[in-house]
Subunit: 342 residues, 2 copies
């Protein structure tokens, strides 16, 4: 009988997360019933939203319950199937969870997406440039909500991250001036020299408000917000009239016990801004449209990307902290299976 | 020679405003030059935005400068004219300022709107149901941004006020369920019994969050926000997915020295809300459309309204405080001329 290794939420973290908040559980897998599929987890996507799901604050999905396997988006390979639509060897993506083996059945209602067998992009692109928490989020946030145009000044926070890096490149392709914010000189160099942003503010070195006054005295037409906190306040203060604010994430607050909002929230009124919060799954019916745009750009190398891979399931909590510390360089993935074959 | 009485901003208030922040200046009026019009102020509209204009925080217009006549929207009558478009006796509205006599010339760029001579609505309707800070704000905020539909639950703060009372009635006419928030039992009774809202929460008596749980457990589809602070937080917590937030005003913060935003700002993300700030003048090109809708409703009495008139120019600062204390019942006006003839 196979044994599964799982990270089960044991206690809700207040502040930073650690392995202590989880039970590392070995769980035997019973023989499959009709309709079930057994999937080996290859990679997990490590995202700020993992941290949201650990809290019992109101949020866009139910929080992970105490005693449940931690929720996580992943790529896997079918190793056994009693469902006609899936064959051993099939590559799939879905909410596989923080576990080595995921048992799926259609009645669970969790969508499981089969990946094409022959597509000349790297497998991990399906968690990155073509993934939910990467390219698809960037695409719908920037193109549907932000709607950058020539003449616009677009500000992207977490600009070296999995979403920001793509969101900014899409805005450049739309003809806008694009400014990034990132947390190190190395990241800023990557953002300007490799990704082609017009400028990048290193918030670890320079006051963001002062830098914005220097770099875009004309103000901000489109704000693609991933961070919140003082960076958001600096940006709100400098919105142009009728600015658009794409509210994609607020990572600076996800570890907070006491919530806070931008103190100058009133600038949304004075500048007559339109702010829209979104979750990529709201756009599920339009994923084919986005992929039709993105796949050729990924194939041709027109969209630049980098990924950062951490090894081993039990390092998942530490990997989440890397996002909060800005320690990852590009899309953060956890490789779960010892060897990943395709 | 005529003498003008003016309230000139002397020092910026921190917190509440008083007459001490103004110089009461008697100013002789020189004989008119070509192109000038002299207007006697009949009524001034007392609005939360008067308080915004006194602060030097970033805002949607330049703040009133120290030494300038306080800015204010008013109704007046032309008493002398050397401009071909205006004749003595003409009734006008515009930014007349906190003064008995306003000298206007086309080169000042301040728009001056001539009122129709024969329109069977009361003169003060042009600062109320048909005015910028009354009906027009309510109309564009609710109908263009809020877009209430049958099945929607619409929440309106400051529901007994000049904008909220009309915004809620417009949402009722659109077939939505409409809930108000107001600051006294008397106001709540007015809101439900006279204005026809489905319910009204008396925030002076009941915790707004608990009341919302009781009155609209289904959540809020459209939030018409005039207040901010804890009322806004209670509403954000209860937004439905894809809710629309009409950001019209944030009166609870206009006296604050230290700014603050809603602590649960993140709910805009989780509920994928769209928030839009607006100022009525953004819609100036569409005023005729709004008036075509509103005038018949005012004439027929279908839109209910009440006004609260305070006498005397030097009471303007105290009148502004009435807005913050919820002491006004309906649209707050200051009658400036001793007798108002038409």
């Amino acid at each position: 009988m196979r044994t599964n290794l799982q990270l089960v939420l044991r206690v809700r973290p207040e502040g930073r997360v650690s392995l202590d908040h989880f039970e590392v559980r070995e769980q035997p897998i019973a023989p499959l019933s009709d309709g079930q599929v057994l999937i080996e987890t290859l990679y997990l996507s490590i995202d700020p939203t993992n941290r949201i799901w650990m809290s019992d604050r109101p949020q866009y999905m139910p929080p992970v319950a105490i005693g449940e396997v931690m929720r996580g988006l992943g790529l896997g390979q079918v190793i056994e199937s009693r469902h006609p639509d899936y064959q051993p060897g099939d590559l799939v993506s879905g909410l596989l969870g923080w576990q080595q083996l995921a048992l799926w059945e259609a009645s669970s209602l969790r969508p499981l997406q089969k990946l094409p067998r022959h597509l000349d992009v790297p497998l991990t692109a399906f968690l990155g440039t073509l993934g939910l928490t990467g390219g698809l989020t960037a695409y719908f946030g920037m193109m549907s909500i932000g709607q950058p145009k020539p003449g616009d000044t677009v500000l992207v926070s977490a600009a070296a991250g999995s979403v920001g890096s793509l969101a900014g490149q899409l805005a450049k392709r739309a003809g806008s001036r694009v400014i990034g914010i990132a947390g190190s000189a190395d990241k800023c160099q990557y953002v300007t020299e490799e990704l082609g942003f017009d400028a990048c503010i290193n918030y670890a070195q320079e006051n963001v408000a002062a830098a914005l006054d220097r770099i875009c005295p004309e103000g901000i037409s489109v704000l693609f917000e991933n961070v919140g906190g003082e960076q958001l306040e600096a940006a709100l203060h400098r919105l142009r009239i009728f600015a658009r604010v794409v509210l994609c994430g607020l990572i600076s607050s996800y570890n907070d016990v006491e919530l806070s909002g931008p103190r100058n929230f009133d600038m949304l009124l004075h500048r007559r801004a339109t702010l829209q919060g979104f979750i990529v799954s709201d756009f599920a019916s339009r994923f084919p449209e986005a992929l039709a745009e993105l796949v050729p750009l990924v194939r041709s190398g027109a969209l630049k990307y980098r990924q950062h891979i951490v090894q081993g399931l039990t390092h998942a909590p530490a990997a989440v902290n890397m996002l909060f510390d800005g320690k990852n360089h590009g899309k953060l993935l956890l490789q779960v299976a010892a060897s990943v074959e395709r």
